[in-house]
């Protein structure tokens, strides 16, 4: 059964926030220039709690339906509220995995979100832990 592991943190060195040194302007740049929109920092938009947000790289497509794909970089907030239906990072039998938190018949499950492939639900036990809540996803596409 493929538990899709999420690899080592992309940042352990705290430079993800610094990655965005140039704020991107939201919206189409106005030629007039005197009516500019507010600038947004997309990274700051994703990261609500810088102290408790860590970046991981996703391996596997078990959260494809919620827009998280193999190779994506996800922001995981340890201070995020563990609500049913949210995408979370969980520790199951020593392995780290990204899944949706579900509840059925009073029991909690880690469920995949991928209609193309079937992955089994994993019941949350006392030994498993919700490591954090997925706060956002960053992806880039080939340019070559």
């Amino acid at each position: 059964m493929p538990l899709h592991r999420v690899k080592q943190p992309v940042i352990a060195n705290g430079f993800p926030m610094r990655l965005v040194t140039m704020p991107a302007s939201a919206g189409f740049p106005s030629p007039a220039g005197d009516d500019l929109e507010d600038e947004i920092d997309p990274m700051a938009w994703v990261v609500r709690h810088p102290a408790s947000t860590f970046w991981w790289r996703v391996e596997g497509d078990c959260l494809w339906d919620v827009g998280i794909r193999d190779g994506d970089i996800i922001a995981v907030d340890r201070a995020g509220k563990r609500r049913i239906g949210r995408a979370v990072l969980a520790v199951v039998e020593g392995a780290v995995t990204a899944k949706i938190l579900r509840k059925r018949d009073g029991r909690y499950y880690l469920a995949p979100a991928n209609s193309r492939e079937k992955f089994p639900d994993i019941e949350l036990t006392e030994d498993s832990e919700i490591w954090g809540v997925i706060a956002g996803v960053v992806r880039r596409y080939d340019l070559a």
Binding site: Q8, P9, I11, A12, N13, G14, H49, P50, A51, S52, F54, R78, A79, V91, G94, A95, V96, E129, W131
Partner: protein, 172 residues
């Protein structure tokens, strides 16, 4: 004038930092080595129980490592610095005055908090939840004329561990 000053520190901080990202390190002996992988500079409680001493050279403990499956890490100061910075950020939610003493120790001004023990407990819980490293907090009333660098030597540290409060003197 005396001020309530808290000191926080983290036991086996480097090990705790490594454990954040690798759940398989839980409850097993872990050591972190000095630069150039010379000696053990951080030991988990399990590694301490095996008799691995602080600063012990790696080549002298190879047998122990093999026999007990000790997990060995080169030091990753970028990681420890990042985790340290995050911990301080949480402290700053609990007091307006944080003085960083080392990578895993801070002095925190607890002036103005009625129930300082409860405040310290809440702070520890927040660090554990938001970052995932355990920290210990001691509180003492300190004469404000001393600079904080001297605090450590004179602290009667009130440790809050597992709900029990233990008084101990912090060595200089």
């Amino acid at each position: 004038m005396k001020r309530p000053i808290a000191i926080s520190d983290s036991a086996n901080f480097y090990v705790s930092a490594e454990r954040i990202f690798d759940p398989t390190l839980k409850n097993v002996p872990v050591i972190v080595l000095s630069n150039n992988d010379g000696c053990a500079v951080a030991r988990s409680d399990e590694a301490k129980a095996l008799g691995i001493r602080m600063g012990e050279p790696l080549h002298l403990i190879r047998d122990k490592i093999a026999a007990h499956g000790v997990r060995v890490f080169s030091s990753n100061y970028t990681l420890y610095g990042d985790i340290s910075r995050r911990v301080v950020e949480v402290y700053e939610d609990f007091t307006p005055n944080v003085e960083i003493y080392s990578i895993d120790e801070c002095f925190l001004d607890f002036t103005g908090f009625a129930d300082r023990t409860a405040h310290a407990r809440a702070m520890r819980a927040a660090v554990l939840r938001r970052i995932g490293v355990p920290v210990r907090v001691g509180i003492a009333l300190v004469l404000s004329r001393f600079s904080s660098g001297l605090f450590r030597a004179m602290f009667a540290m009130k440790e809050i561990e597992n709900g029990k409060e233990i008084h101990r003197r912090v060595p200089a």
